[in-house]
């Protein structure tokens, strides 16, 4: 009798655990992450204005937003958010909701340097993520260059995730 661990994952999803995630799941996750970044920016803007109000209530006016400043702030927040998430748990909020995890080829969590590189790559070349829809092994440009994988993983866990990569061709 072998002691196999009981999986908390629903039966219909068990076969997909460790498989490389596809385009739709990734896009939904990325959309959620974009929402998180937008929310952070909005809260930062509101916090900044609140601070200004407390310092000078009489002369308070909402600070204007420039496109350059907003884009820069968005890139910074996005890169920090993605790096921190991938280097610690391997999953952003979007990945957590959609049941995905970013791992290296061995199924381990990304090293901080790799996480930072991938975050920069995703922030400045987001269209590269779409390549996973055309690539047989479901890898984005970022995954191919940095040798990473985004896999279905519904269970929050530490350690190594078993990765099942489709054959390339």
């Amino acid at each position: 009798m072998t002691a196999e661990p009981v999986s908390p994952v629903p039966r219909e999803a068990r076969g997909y655990q460790g498989e490389v995630a596809g385009l739709v799941t990734r896009m939904v996750g990325a959309g959620i992450d974009a929402g998180v970044v937008g929310l952070v920016l909005l809260l930062a803007w509101l916090g900044l204005n609140g601070l200004k109000f407390m310092v000078d209530p009489r002369g308070f006016q909402f600070s204007g937003t420039s496109v350059l400043l907003t884009l820069t702030a968005a890139f910074v927040v996005l890169v920090v958010y993605l790096t921190a998430a991938w280097a610690t748990t391997g999953r952003t909020w979007g990945s957590h909701v959609m049941g995905m995890r970013v791992v290296d080829r061995q199924g381990r969590r990304l090293r901080p340097a790799v996480a930072l590189l991938r975050a920069l790559f995703c922030a400045f070349f987001p269209i590269g993520l779409l390549w996973c829809g055309a690539n047989r092994s479901r890898r984005s440009v970022q995954d191919i260059v940095l040798r990473t994988s985004v896999v279905y993983d519904w269970v929050p866990r530490r350690g190594v995730t078993q990765v099942h990569v489709p054959p390339t061709g």
Partner: protein
């Protein structure tokens, strides 16, 4: 020597004269009596079984009433050794997996949100597979040669019914 040989021949002849008819008759009697004997044997067996069905449980019950089985087991059986020999973790895991306890817990405690989330995830996985199949079909179409290979010429128009 001659009288002695005569006596031996006489004895053998007598034995043969007696033994052969006895054997023939015995075999015949056995053949004729076999069905009746089988019936008797079956009847005896059945009645004995019926009697044992009544007597044995009653006797065992009487014996058990006079015995303290728990104490006997405690005194004579190494329960700890038996328990140690069982892989309780594996057994428990197997039972939990068989009754799908996680699913029962999910159904009894899961909120509408978690059920919705599960549905969204599964639909996204299905959509991923559909996109992958579409990509595969596209790749196959591109991999086909543009010029048709030499082969039989298929006439245009409806295909004739072979029947």
């Amino acid at each position: 020597m001659r009288p002695l040989r005569f006596t031996a021949d006489l004895a053998l002849g007598t034995v043969a004269l007696v033994a052969v008819p006895v054997a023939v008759v015995g075999h015949r009697v056995r053949v004729l009596a076999e069905p009746a004997l089988a019936l008797v044997r079956d009847e005896v067996t059945r009645q004995l079984a019926e009697a044992l069905d009544v007597v044995v449980p009653a006797a065992v019950a009487q014996v058990l009433q006079r015995l303290d089985l728990t104490k006997l087991v405690e005194d004579n059986v190494d329960i700890e050794h038996i328990v140690e020999s069982i892989d309780l973790v594996a057994l428990t895991n197997e039972i939990i997996a068989e009754i799908d306890l996680p699913e029962i817990i999910r159904q009894s405690t899961g909120s509408v949100a978690s059920e919705t989330l599960r549905g969204v995830r599964m639909q996204a996985i299905t959509a991923d597979d559909a996109v992958a199949r579409l990509g595969e079909r596209f790749r196959l179409r591109r991999a086909r040669p543009t010029t048709a290979p030499a082969g039989p010429v298929i006439p245009a128009g409806p295909v004739p019914d072979p029947l």
